[in-house]
């Protein structure tokens, strides 16, 4: 447990050493888009989307600075490194969600745009699910392969998901409408899907990453 906490601390310093100007985009662009479109919940969705991709910066820092050598000499198990990184990422995800929620409410007050509980819950849980999905797909790949070799292909899975999703909605719009109606009638299911589903994705992804990272030469 102690080494997992140490790994979280090390990841904090790794992320801190990244180009933090990029982090400003996580805060500024969603605020701008949410404000201009008069759709404050969009701040949540965009922040979690950009934040999800930003977290993979840690792997770029590791590669650029030979930190795999550091991991090779530290008295830490590979699985502790992996668990530490997922937990740190989860903490960052929760922090981004909290900050984006405050900004969304603030913008809705300033613009006098109503933000009801259902809409907020839907955006929050949906954004969290999106964040977890991005992490769950990218992290196992980056634990196995070098960041620089993979970065060009890392977005391919999301493109496939969007294409497949668009195809399903187009082919069977009634199914999509029924699904939407179900969530409106059973709002608690949005929380279950977003939060529980997101955490489940992260858990599965953690196991995959541990298995892949065990075989990686440092």
């Amino acid at each position: 447990m102690n080494n997992i906490l140490n790994s979280i601390k090390l990841d904090y310093y790794i992320l801190k050493s990244a180009d933090l100007r990029r982090l400003a985009i996580v805060a500024f662009v969603p605020l701008l888009v949410g404000g201009l479109s008069k759709n404050p919940p969009l701040i949540l969705g965009m922040s979690m989307f950009i934040g999800g991709f930003f977290m993979s910066t840690m792997f770029a820092v590791v590669e650029k600075n030979n930190l795999n050598k550091l991991y090779g000499i530290l008295p830490v198990k590979k699985q502790e490194t992996v668990i530490g990184r997922y937990l740190f990422t989860l903490i960052c995800g929760v922090a981004i969600a909290a900050l984006a929620s405050i900004l969304a409410f603030a913008v809705s007050l300033v613009l006098q745009v109503g933000l009801d509980g259902f809409t907020f819950a839907a955006w929050l849980s949906g954004s969290f699910l999106l964040f977890c999905l991005i992490i769950s797909i990218q992290f196992p790949l980056y634990f196995k392969y070098d960041f620089s070799k993979l970065v060009a292909f890392a977005n391919l899975p999301y493109i496939l998901i969007v294409v497949a999703g668009s195809y399903v909605v187009k082919k069977d719009p009634e199914l999509f409408a029924k699904t939407l109606a179900f969530f409106i009638q059973n709002p608690y299911t949005i929380w279950i899907l977003g939060i529980v589903g997101g955490l489940a994705l992260l858990a599965i992804s953690t196991f995959i990453s541990i298995a892949l990272y065990q075989t990686r030469e440092l």
């Binding site: 080494n3 906490l5 090390l10 310093y13 790794i14 050493s17 600075n65 090779g72 530290l74 030469e217």
Partner: protein, 239 residues
């Protein structure tokens, strides 16, 4: 526990290179120079010792323990300096300690700050602002701050000036002075070794061609006066 390192029949195969039955022993309290030309297999051997890469066969005992089964315990007691820094370039010297001290049960913060002061490392400077010699000293400061019993150095003197090299050798001599610590020192700059090494292992094309005391070299290679000459004669023989 009489040996710091005990390697027996170590094999590792890559597509274009292989380590063949590497065996040698470094007794506790001594310094071993691990010599070979670039590409001879020095770094691969060190990576195998640290379990950073998987071996095909053989065994590695570090401080009397298996390097895979007891990896975490062993890594508490060993310290490593590579030829290039393994800290984030934008970390300050003070942040290096904060980032990694928690991993070591015997981390001594006062000792780290003493080393930083002794090596004239500016505590608020970033790693990227340090010279190559200073980066090496920073790695040494970290390595020597958690009571490591075995110090492993992979080409620490390559690319640093003669003054910094002599400083490093002085630091190493002081480090082993209590007779409880050992150093495994890989290099292709052989003049460094004759100043401090008690034992020498020579590796060529993935095979050990000599392992023993520094003094025993002249018996094993009669008529050859320096390690450099030995390396040249081995290379000529293999051609």
């Amino acid at each position: 526990m009489a040996n710091a390192i005990e390697i027996t029949g170590l094999r590792k195969e890559y597509r274009d290179f292989s380590l063949k039955d590497i065996s040698f022993t470094l007794p506790l309290g001594h310094i071993m120079g691990f010599v070979g030309q670039n590409g001879a297999g020095k770094t691969t051997t060190i990576r195998l010792i640290l379990n950073m890469t998987a071996r095909q066969s053989g065994s590695i005992q570090i401080l009397g323990q298996d390097n895979i089964l007891d990896e975490q315990k062993i890594k508490q007691d060993i310290a490593v300096v590579f030829d290039d820094t393994f800290f984030a370039e934008s970390w300050k010297v003070s942040e290096v300690e904060k980032a990694i001290q928690g991993f070591y049960a015997k981390w001594d913060s006062a000792l780290y700050h003493n080393h930083v002061k002794e090596f004239n490392l500016p505590i608020d400077k970033r790693v990227k602002e340090l010279s190559r010699g200073m980066k090496m000293k920073l790695m040494l400061a970290v390595a020597m701050s958690h009571e490591a019993k075995l110090l492993i150095l992979d080409e620490p003197t390559s690319g640093i000036d003669p003054v910094a090299r002599d400083e490093l050798l002085d630091i190493l001599r002081t480090y082993v002075a209590d007779g409880q610590k050992s150093i495994f020192f890989s290099t292709h700059i052989t003049t460094d070794l004759q100043k401090i090494a008690d034992y020498i292992s020579i590796i060529h094309n993935g095979s050990i061609v000599y392992t023993g005391t520094e003094k025993g070299l002249s018996g094993a290679f009669p008529g050859v006066s320096s390690i450099d000459d030995i390396l040249v004669s081995i290379s000529k023989r293999s051609i």
